[in-house]
């Protein structure tokens, strides 16, 4: 890697970059947010309606009125489901995703399986880096790499340190010289790999786990998703000392997005 780490320098986006598709996605996300809040309110409406019905004759005037409230809530529930569906479809599209958010979510998810002899730390140098990605796929990339690191430490223990920094790419880097990228590094102190193993680790069905589980597909999926994002992966490993996996993904700073008119 011939580029350099940099904090706080942003790629400047041009007016018009935020296109109609982006605006529609924002609207869907807003609709999803409103639907989420309405679903909380609907749960309260259902609850008190059910409680009222417990102490009323359902055929009484008051009982019938409560039934009508529940029917209206059912219609609202169908509406919120449609709004959430729009948001859900957007979530499956590529969108601007804050790397630090997904990274934090992933590591929080992994904390409990970390055994007493494994420690985990996250160091975010550039919290505002944004990449174009499908959030669930980025989550899967981070998850698979971290799980792989945990597995390399499951016998002898150790530590996993994850860092996020901005990086200005240099000559020979993908996607190009001078562009901002997110550099995400996973450094473990596990059993490490020899050169042949390290070069094969992203191949489908490659596994060192034998009968201890694992399909050998996790890291192949990582490679495919990162490639799809025009990113690169680099592995540095030493047998008995640990492994560092660097992900470089084209990015921009959140603060550099243009104001919407």
């Amino acid at each position: 890697m011939s580029g350099r780490k940099q904090k706080g320098k942003a790629e400047v986006r041009q007016p018009g970059d935020h296109d109609i598709a982006g605006t529609a996605m924002d609207a869907n996300r807003l609709a999803g947010g409103i639907a989420h809040d309405l679903n909380t309110i609907l749960t309260t409406i259902y609850g008190y309606s059910e409680m009222a019905l417990e102490s009323l004759d359902p055929s009484s005037e008051a009982g019938r009125s409560i039934q009508k409230i529940i029917e209206a809530a059912d219609r609202a529930r169908q509406l919120t489901a449609r709004l959430l569906d729009l948001d859900r479809k957007s979530a499956e599209d590529k969108q601007q995703v804050k790397v630090s958010d997904i990274l934090s979510d992933t590591l929080r998810f992994l904390m409990p399986p970390a055994r007493e002899n494994i420690s985990l730390s996250l160091k975010i140098g550039s919290p505002d880096l944004v990449v174009e990605a499908i959030p669930s796929q980025l989550f899967r990339v981070f998850m698979n790499i971290a799980v792989n690191a945990f597995q390399s430490m499951e016998d002898g223990g150790g530590s996993l340190t994850v860092t996020l920094d901005s990086f200005i790419e240099g000559e020979g880097d993908k996607p190009g010289k001078g562009r901002t990228a997110a550099l995400i590094s996973f450094a473990d102190t596990g059993k490490g790999m020899d050169e042949a193993t390290a070069s094969a680790m992203f191949e489908p069905f490659f596994t060192e786990r034998g009968n201890r589980g694992g399909t050998g597909l996790g890291m192949a999926v990582v490679r495919d998703i990162v490639t799809e994002m025009n990113g690169t992966l680099k592995v540095r490993s030493e047998k008995g000392r640990g492994t560092v996996i660097d992900l470089l993904i084209p990015a921009m700073m959140f603060g550099s997005l243009p104001e919407k008119s």
Binding site: I41, T44, G47, Y48, T106, F109, P135
Partner: protein
């Protein structure tokens, strides 16, 4: 009677759930966010925790982890509506952390109360 802790940042929903459970004679403790839940949790009183997941301060995932540390036998029900990592991801995470049942909003509170009854016997 068994003790239930409700952790929910929406005041109306929190009070409704409290009313539903107190009506069934459960001892109920409420908290408006994760931090309050962790400070109010009493292992000798609380047998089951119902927690929302997306909340200010400490979120519901942290609540589950801390409470399971303090009293591993605590039963947990998670309630939520989504998250940044994709729909369902937070409820999936809650399950992995030890929530035995998850309810996606909106749900029928009578079904939640029935589940509490089954879990606490």
């Amino acid at each position: 009677m068994a003790g239930v802790m409700i952790v929910e940042d929406d005041a109306a929903l929190r009070e409704m759930l409290r009313d539903s459970l107190e009506k069934r004679k459960y001892t109920v403790i409420t908290a408006a966010d994760g931090r309050e839940a962790i400070s109010k949790f009493r292992p000798s009183i609380v047998d089951l925790v119902i927690t929302d997941l997306l909340m200010p301060e400490e979120d519901g995932l942290m609540v589950i982890m801390k409470i399971k540390e303090m009293k591993p036998s605590t039963r947990v029900i998670a309630i939520s509506g989504g998250g940044k990592a994709g729909p369902g991801s937070y409820l999936l995470m809650a399950s992995k952390l030890g929530a035995e049942h998850v309810f996606s909003k909106p749900f029928l509170p009578s079904e939640l109360v029935q589940k509490v009854k089954e879990m606490l016997g």
